[in-house]
């Protein structure tokens, strides 16, 4: 885990100092002109922080969902939670609700409500006789995603060209944030969400032995399930309401870690945060520099890497997929 932390530090460091407008490490600590200073402190650093928060949260949420669904194909993206959160955020933005209530952004709250509803829907649909069936799980996720996509398209249809382009960009997933304001507003939701999930890792392990055994070993199973719903929706919803649905981070990262470190959730969850943060920071750096000065939405990069990975996973686990 220390190794993962160091990896993140290095990636973040490289990321801060790379981009269309070049700022070297030495320049940053010495004298910067006005423009460079603005770029460095108002754009670069917040952006790397946002990538860290988003990547870490999505990966952590993915690992938690996989424990909850007892299925390694669960993630905010595959379950349609990302889609739900996106729609919630979009509705709030379009209906002019983009105002703060008691310091909380309505956009995040709306994203939270939609993600928790999606999760309940998918969980109910996919559970057969107390056990989550993989096929039903993925189908329910697909149905949710299609439903939300059609509503988004409906909204798009009645939008002006500019609005429509904005939405399109947002759906592709981007870490284009300016200033620290957004970062703080996201953290208000992300910190309690992630803290709750990290406090449940031991119970998640026991939950992997079945409801009855977990219960006989001291876990209040129903309460644990509710906490996971709540916390993942809170954290992932807040992130997605800012960045748009960045796909597959929540699926790939926990998977890679399980292959390397085993399946103990006490290790997998915190490690997922670190590796997720590193992965998204790296992907974002790539998206800013690959065809500079054009910035490709980071969602395109993660989804293309993730898509291939997901396919490989499906092929590899062929025997286990039962509808």
């Amino acid at each position: 885990m220390t190794l993962l932390f160091i990896l993140w530090i290095i990636t973040a460091f490289i990321s801060i100092f790379s981009g269309t407008y070049s700022i070297g490490p030495l320049e940053a600590i010495s004298n910067l002109d006005e423009l460079s200073r603005t770029i460095f402190f108002q754009i670069r650093i917040p952006r790397v922080l946002m990538a860290t928060i988003a990547g870490g949260t999505l990966a952590l949420a993915g690992a938690a969902l996989q424990a909850l669904f007892r299925n390694s194909l669960a993630s905010p993206f595959t379950l349609g939670i990302s889609g739900g959160a996106s729609l919630g955020a979009l509705l709030a933005i379009r209906s002019g609700l983009a105002v703060g209530v008691l310091g909380f952004s309505m956009v995040s709250i709306s994203a939270f409500v939609f993600s928790i509803l999606t999760m309940l829907f998918v969980y109910t649909i996919s559970k057969v006789g107390g056990v989550v069936a993989t096929g039903r799980l993925l189908l329910a996720g697909v149905v949710a995603n299609f439903l939300y996509a059609s509503i988004v398209m409906f909204i798009q249809f009645f939008s002006t060209f500019t609005e429509s382009l904005q939405t399109m960009r947002w759906i592709m997933g981007s870490l284009d944030v300016v200033g620290f304001d957004t970062v703080w507003k996201t953290l208000i939701f992300v910190i309690p969400g992630c803290a709750i999930l990290l406090s449940l890792t031991k119970d998640m392990n026991l939950f992997g032995l079945g409801d009855d055994v977990a219960s006989s070993l001291g876990v209040n199973v129903r309460r644990m399930e509710k906490k996971i719903y709540f916390a993942t929706s809170l954290a992932a919803g807040a992130v997605i309401s800012v960045t748009g649905p960045i796909g597959f981070v929540g699926l790939i990262i926990p998977h890679i870690l399980r292959m390397l470190l085993g399946v103990d959730n006490r290790i997998i969850l915190p490690s997922s945060f670190l590796l997720g943060a590193t992965f998204l920071t790296a992907a974002d750096t790539l998206s800013r520099t690959i065809i500079s000065p054009v910035e490709i939405p980071v969602g395109i990069i993660t989804a293309s890497i993730g898509g291939v990975f997901f396919l490989w996973l499906l092929i590899r686990t062929k025997k286990e997929i039962i509808i």
């Binding site: 406090s199 079945g210 006989s216």
Partner: protein, 257 residues
Amino acid sequence: MEAIINCTDIGFSYNGTSVLNGINLSIQPGNMLGILGANGAGKSTLLKILCGVLKPKSGKALFNDQELSKMDRREIAKGIAYIPQDPMFAFPFTVREVVLMGRAPYIGRFEFEREEDNEIAKNALKTVGISHLKDRLINEVSSGERQLASIARGLVQEPGIMILDEPATYLDVKHRTEVMNILRHLKENKGISIIAATHDIFSSLFYFDDIMILKDGNILAEGRTDQIINSEILSLAYGIEVVVKKENGRVFVFPNQ
């Protein structure tokens, strides 16, 4: 001696359908009780009530004179180990990790196992005879070995009583005997009481001190094993004619068809 588990007038129903009626049960420390009965007789439900996983709809279940439904779950877990019929392993934990999970009630929310816990797990693996499998993945060992790992997991809870749902049903005759011998060993050498549901009438004769037979959620018969296992009671319990024959000090049980 004080009973370790004492139930009076237990009743339970699923969605309005009655599953158990007026069950009284008590077990002394260091005793082995077998629960027999046809499929759907209510055995599994009764076991889940006895280990505090289900709350009875009526009546009282006491563990060391404390009412189970009012006890803290972790406290129950330190006294009662539950091993289900077909344990689930959602992720490929190692055998050792599975066994160590039995230490959960003794470990804080953010803690890892201490040296002491590792030692206890090591001894449990040795007791059930699967030390050599400790680093194997639980989903890659045989079903008999999985069952032994589950028993070891129960053992590290350091319970006063172990409750098992058909511990040997899916096993071949060698592993079945092995599991039952280990249970007897735990009873005799560690003073752990055992309650197990079973379909194996034949091995029930050798291992259990007492037998309770359930039929449609009611107690059909209970008492010392040699008094309960007879043609009349078994025929009633399973709804087909069962013959129990004693010959040269050996007992044979078979359906008369």
